[in-house]
């Protein structure tokens, strides 16, 4: 009885519990939508999505498609970390999407136009992300411009600048950027044998890197003086000021680091050669926005975010296994969007749990 109570109060337990509820709710709503469209096939369709790579009977195929999911987990996790980091400073970094875009631009341009090795390309992405994040931070700190507004505007600016820049390194016949492997194999992130393990040439060190970075972010936020300042600023800006912290600098720094994280995430994807940038695209890639959902699902904890990012990408990739003879192909996107959307409700559920607990307090 006593244990049960303290467990319910435990912050970590609450986060996991709320995340599970969100996942179940998301799957349920997704299922209902499928059932409305075609009740007979809904169960099988849902299972297809959940199975993702496990839809394949052979282990080698399973590994390969697990690899495909992981390739996209890395950038998603980085975007989620970006949002997470800024959130701790009390900032909602919706600009992660744009920072991701400039990261793609810088890393691809470095690889294709300047023929730089992969690590230089990553550093270029980082620099671009820092600049893009700093813009939001400077506007916030000195102009009191809300970071959501400036972030959204910069997302679009980033998109069109990137389309223009990468237009100079695109294939002659298509709007896609040239394949890295055909001009500069040095720009592909090395794999240290991961490729042969997964039998998937897109699986690179980017994946373990992103996990290491997540742990590093967790360490910075919870163990260092810098993290102490950032979180204090996020919790109570006035107290931060009272204690002599430089809150303006903290806001800018936080967004710069957030920008770097998202941008490096983009380089992790594009320098694996998995995708080419489409220079005619007219929507900001969803990666940055999905990062928001992953952060919340991960309980605003960098470690939790690793698992949340995996889950979200797992479902997103799983959507591809929906039978397009029965369901229109947009449905896959719709279902995954619903699930991701509900994942964003974690905080809400947590809040609900807390109020419930406060009013029931001790009855359990």
């Amino acid at each position: 009885m006593k244990d049960n109570k303290s467990m319910l109060k435990n912050e970590g337990f609450q986060s996991v519990f709320a995340a599970l509820i969100c996942i179940i709710a998301g799957l349920l709503v997704g299922y209902i939508v499928l059932a409305i469209i075609n009740p007979a096939e809904a169960t099988e369709a849902m299972l297809d999505i959940i199975r993702n790579f496990a839809n394949y009977p052979r282990t080698s195929a399973k590994m390969k498609y697990l690899g495909n999911t992981l390739v996209k987990v890395a950038p998603l996790l980085m975007c989620a970390l970006s949002v997470n980091f800024c959130y701790k400073t009390g900032l909602f970094n919706i600009g992660a999407a744009g920072q991701y875009v400039v990261g793609a631009a810088a890393s691809l341009y470095g690889a294709l136009a300047w023929h730089m090795p992969w690590y230089v390309c990553i550093l270029m992405a980082m620099a671009a992300g820092i600049i893009w994040g700093a813009l939001v931070g400077l506007l916030k700190a000195y102009g009191n411009v809300n970071e959501v507004i400036s972030g959204i505007m910069l997302n679009w600016i980033a998109l069109y600048l990137t389309n223009m820049l990468l237009g100079t390194v695109s294939e002659a016949a298509t709007p896609y950027t040239t394949q890295i492997k055909s001009v500069n194999t040095d720009a592909l992130i090395p794999d240290l044998g991961l490729r042969s393990l997964f039998i998937n040439r897109y699986v690179t060190l980017a994946i373990p890197f992103s996990v290491i970075i997540a742990v590093a972010v967790w360490v910075v936020l919870t163990k260092t003086k810098f993290g102490y300042e950032l979180c204090a600023t996020g919790f109570n800006r006035n107290a931060a000021k009272y204690s002599g912290m430089n809150e303006k600098r903290n806001v800018i720094m936080s967004l710069m680091i957030g920008g770097a994280l998202a941008a490096v995430g983009a380089s992790f994807l594009y320098l694996s050669g998995y995708e080419q940038w489409q220079t005619t695209q007219s929507a900001v890639p969803a990666m940055g926005f999905n990062g928001i959902a992953a952060t919340f699902l991960g309980g605003l904890n960098p470690i939790g975010t690793i698992f949340a990012s995996y889950f979200i990408q797992h479902i997103t990739s799983g959507g591809a296994y929906l039978d397009t003879n029965i369901y229109p192909s947009q449905i896959a996107d719709l279902i995954t969007a619903i699930i991701i959307y509900l994942c964003g409700f974690v905080l809400f559920f947590k809040h609900l749990m807390n109020t419930k607990r406060a009013s029931k307090g001790g009855n359990n």
């Binding site: 109570k5 303290s6 109060k9 163990k223 260092t224 003086k225 810098f226 102490y228 979180c231 204090a232 919790f235 109570n236 006035n238 107290a239 931060a240 000021k241 009272y242 204690s243 002599g244 912290m245 430089n246 406060a358 009013s359 029931k360 307090g361 001790g362 009855n363």
Partner: protein
């Protein structure tokens, strides 16, 4: 079945939090039309008990009866419906709304979906006039003083026509004059048949206003006494379990060199253009307590903001230990200056941090707490916090790891005082340091302030309470409308004279240095 004489009965109430039993089988009976005081040390469980009555917490054991019928107060809305209203210890106001909007919040009258503020305004102005609350309905909460915020809270409750009124330390922030007013209001309300629960740490107030008083100590019910049949001494003995001395012993000050020198200082208020502090000059020497007295809202807050660097000054010069700090950063100033802020929730604490993290809020960057690589030395922080917690008797459920938000108001205040005094400053700026503390704790803090003085610290005390001013200070400066209008020796003045200056009826010009 005869009609019960009780408006509210709380029977056998027990409430446990992790690590602590905040209420342990407490019984409280509130008669209709009476003013019932609730007395207890910091952390005794008063606010918790009242929160249970108001539906914020559910008791683990025990029942609540309203007018003799058992009721379940599941949430504050239920309390509202039952006619139970509460003014909280820490205000529950929306900062960016106006006073009027805050008062009607949740009970707005609408017509076709549009707010009908005319009638609300009329009712509010009537109530405000009737009880002398002097409210400006269109001022924004973020722009008004703590005192006026408190009065907004009171109006909020009156506006809802509640018949059981809970006041959790309503006088902690009011000036003596305002307290007189409030006491009149409370008596009026009781005469009109409202039943009032009143928490206060000030025994003289309880003696003046209450009909009966219930005492709790460390979560346990001690007893209820008729005020006519008791004395302040007996009350404090019931509360603390031992005798408390209410006045401070102190030797004459041995003043040293000038520590703080303020010359022609002007500070703007929140709204640009209006100067809240005008051309103020004074100094504080080592080893003396200089007190700024005045009615709330006469520029004391802005003066302190200017001194501590929270807002830039618009003119004049500030020197600390001979060094010009007029435009220095907060961090630079805090090397030699400690600051016990007026609003502990706004500035003093990061409520979502643990107690230990809050204990190092002003010195987490010092080499003893952080390694060269930038890692916090958590073990050192823990030990440091635990030492402060023990030395200054800061009570909480889970010691150093307690989230500050869950601590009682008085203990939050003690934590700030511990942190600021322990830094061994040259200048201690203390704004209302004993706000919300019980008599035992006040005695303690006063002793510590005097000990700081005797150690050679210059102490600048801002207080609204004349008793505290008279007790502690070596010199008194009275502030009125942003200017210093008089300087006094506490031994050669009295409450009446100070009151005249505080209300602007009299003024002198004071030279910068004596």
């Amino acid at each position: 079945m005869g009609e019960t004489p009780y408006a509210i009965e709380m029977l056998g109430i027990t409430k446990r939090f992790s690590g602590i039993t905040a209420n342990d089988d407490i019984t409280l009976q509130l008669k209709k039309g009476e003013i019932h005081a609730l007395l207890g040390e910091n952390g005794a469980g008063k606010s918790t008990l009242m929160s249970i009555l108001f539906g914020l917490y559910q008791p683990d054991e025990g029942i609540i009866k309203k007018d003799g019928k058992e009721v379940k107060v599941i949430d504050p809305n239920a309390a509202d419906r039952l006619g139970i209203g509460m003014v909280h210890q820490h205000f529950q106001l929306v900062e960016c709304f106006t006073v009027l909007e805050n008062i009607v919040l949740g009970v707005e009258t609408t017509k076709h979906g549009f707010l009908q503020q005319k009638e609300a305004r009329k009712k509010i102005m009537e109530l405000s006039d009737r009880y002398g609350l002097m409210i400006d309905p269109d001022a924004r909460i973020s722009d008004i003083t703590v005192g006026m915020q408190q009065r907004t809270e009171i109006l909020k409750m009156l506006y809802r026509d509640s018949d059981v009124l809970i006041f959790d330390e309503p006088t902690a922030v009011l000036t003596p004059q305002e307290i007189e007013e409030l006491i009149k209001i409370l008596k009026n309300l009781a005469a009109e048949g409202k039943s009032i629960l009143f928490i206060s740490h000030k025994l003289n107030e309880i003696m003046e206003v209450a009909d009966r008083c219930s005492v709790i100590r460390r979560g346990k019910y001690i007893g209820t006494v008729d005020i006519d049949a008791t004395t302040p001494e007996e009350l404090s003995r019931m509360m603390c379990g031992h005798d408390v001395k209410l006045s401070v012993d102190k030797e004459p000050a041995k003043t040293g060199e000038v520590i703080l020198e303020v010359a022609g200082l002007s500070v703007h208020g929140k709204k640009k253009g209006k100067e809240k502090v005008r051309n103020v000059s004074f100094n504080v020497r080592a080893g003396e307590i200089v007190c700024i007295a005045g009615i709330d809202g006469n520029g004391q807050t802005e003066l302190v903001y200017g001194l501590t660097g929270l807002t830039p000054v618009s003119g004049g010069k500030i020197s600390l230990c001979g060094e010009d700090i007029t435009h220095a950063s907060v961090r630079k100033r805090s090397e030699k200056m400690s600051h016990i802020p007026e609003d502990r929730h706004k500035h003093g604490l990061v409520l979502d941090y643990s107690l230990e993290y809050n204990m190092v809020l002003q010195r987490y960057f010092e080499p003893q707490f952080v390694s060269g690589a930038g890692f916090l030395k958590k073990k050192v922080i823990r030990e440091y916090a635990e030492r402060l917690i023990n030395t200054y008797d800061v009570r909480s459920g889970e010691g150093a790891q307690t989230t500050v938000r869950s601590m009682s108001g008085g203990n939050q205040q003690k934590a700030i005082i511990a942190r600021e005094i322990d830094r061994g400053p040259k200048l201690l700026v203390a704004v209302q340091p004993t706000r919300g503390l019980d008599v035992g704790a006040i005695e303690n803090i006063h002793k510590q302030l005097v000990a700081e003085r005797d150690r050679g610290t210059a102490v600048l005390l801002v207080s609204l309470e004349l008793e505290e001013v008279m007790n502690l200070s070596d010199r008194i400066l009275v502030m009125y409308e942003g200017e210093i209008v008089g300087e006094f020796d506490p031994k050669k003045t009295d409450n009446e004279e100070l009151g005249m200056y505080m209300s602007g009826a009299k003024r002198n010009t004071v030279e910068a240095d004596r």
